[in-house]
Symmetry: C2
Subunit: 220 residues, 2 copies
């Protein structure tokens, strides 16, 4: 019996995505059909449907008759993804500042307030901070009101997750880094409310590129 409204393929897609992003399967690792079937207790069809969608997400690659593999990571790919993310984020912010209304402004303020609370508290709850950080940036770009651009942004964010996790493991407990980070968020919000589109775009582009050098070191 299926209690959920999702079919098996959709459920396993979600699980597999998380497992790959969290590092349960390493870059380049082979995904054996038989093993996956046993581990997730599903049949061939829904499993292969999920893998098909993971290929579309660039998290898995496959070759005919040779099976499925977790996509490799590399410094080149890291740089390309973050560069693309930075440019798209800048573009979205720019459009949001041009189009955003009072509700957008209010949402950004509220998101900032929540993020501040999470950053300044004595013991930082990593998961909660991540959630509020992500929400702050999402609320900022939401004003651009372009479903397609926001979808592209989301997809790039997901693609960067395996690299981002390398950064989080090193730098979240670092209070200095977190403080500097928070200063940038404040500055970014101010630029947005002042409707300085170019300024905000420039800042957010740099903001996103910040972790790249650190991740590069972690990769080598």
């Amino acid at each position: 019996m299926t209690t959920s409204t999702k079919n098996t393929a959709a459920k396993i897609l979600e699980t597999l995505t998380d497992d790959i992003l969290e590092g349960s399967y390493l870059p380049g690792e082979k995904l054996h059909i038989k093993t996956l079937k046993e581990r997730y207790e599903v049949g061939t069809s829904p499993l292969r449907e999920a893998l098909s969608q993971l290929i579309a997400k660039d998290l898995v690659v496959s070759e005919n008759q040779k099976g499925f593999y977790v996509s490799e990571i590399s410094i080149d790919d890291l740089e390309d993804i973050y560069q693309a993310r930075a440019k798209i984020e800048a573009l979205c912010i720019e459009m949001a500042i041009e189009k955003g209304d009072d509700y957008w402004e209010a949402n950004c303020l509220a998101a900032m307030y929540k993020l501040n609370k999470s950053s300044t508290s004595a013991s930082v709850d990593l998961k909660e901070w991540q959630k509020r950080h992500s929400a702050f940036h999402s609320d900022l770009v939401a004003g651009c009101a372009s479903p397609r651009l926001l979808q592209i942004r989301q997809s790039l964010f997901e693609k960067s997750t395996r690299y981002r996790n390398l950064w989080l493991k090193e730098n979240v407990t670092n209070a200095d880094t977190l403080g500097l980070n928070q200063q940038e968020h404040t500055a970014l919000l101010n630029l947005a409310l002042e409707r300085d589109a170019k300024g905000a775009a420039q800042l957010v582009e740099a903001h996103i590129l910040t972790p790249v050098e650190i991740i590069k070191k972690a990769l080598t």
Copy 2:
């Protein structure tokens, strides 16, 4: 026997994609599993794998236990896709002009030459013109050297195809439109070679948005 290196799922994905983009299946039309199996002479698994990837491409939507449908089109969607395309194209051109080398310049020149030949000839071969037009713009943005951005650009281009076909049916034979179009291409190439990144970005953004109003009319 499989003469091709592709598996059944990959082959049928290609066919189905083309058929949807060309209008063999209309927006909102239901895609019956049984019918598709008979038409393309394939089994359930590869067919469903292909449909899974079409969902990832936003060309098909599905609901659990209710089957697959061709994605709807709408004026809102048309505007969003073309807006996103225009912004991404502008971004790519800007980066290409900042990074492009001699080979890039030469490729753009060659592409322009071929496009010109195809546009000025007495009887325009639509398919050939499309190919050269597409190649010209691709060569221009190729200089940005970002696989991810180029992939996003390609995917948006594909998503716009059903709308673009509405435009092509109306305006390709129109000599005036084609002439104006060609003037823009020349101007764009000049800006690129002069390394006027902002100017080229602005022009290409407008260039892409040109057909929107015409398509809007065709949609209503």
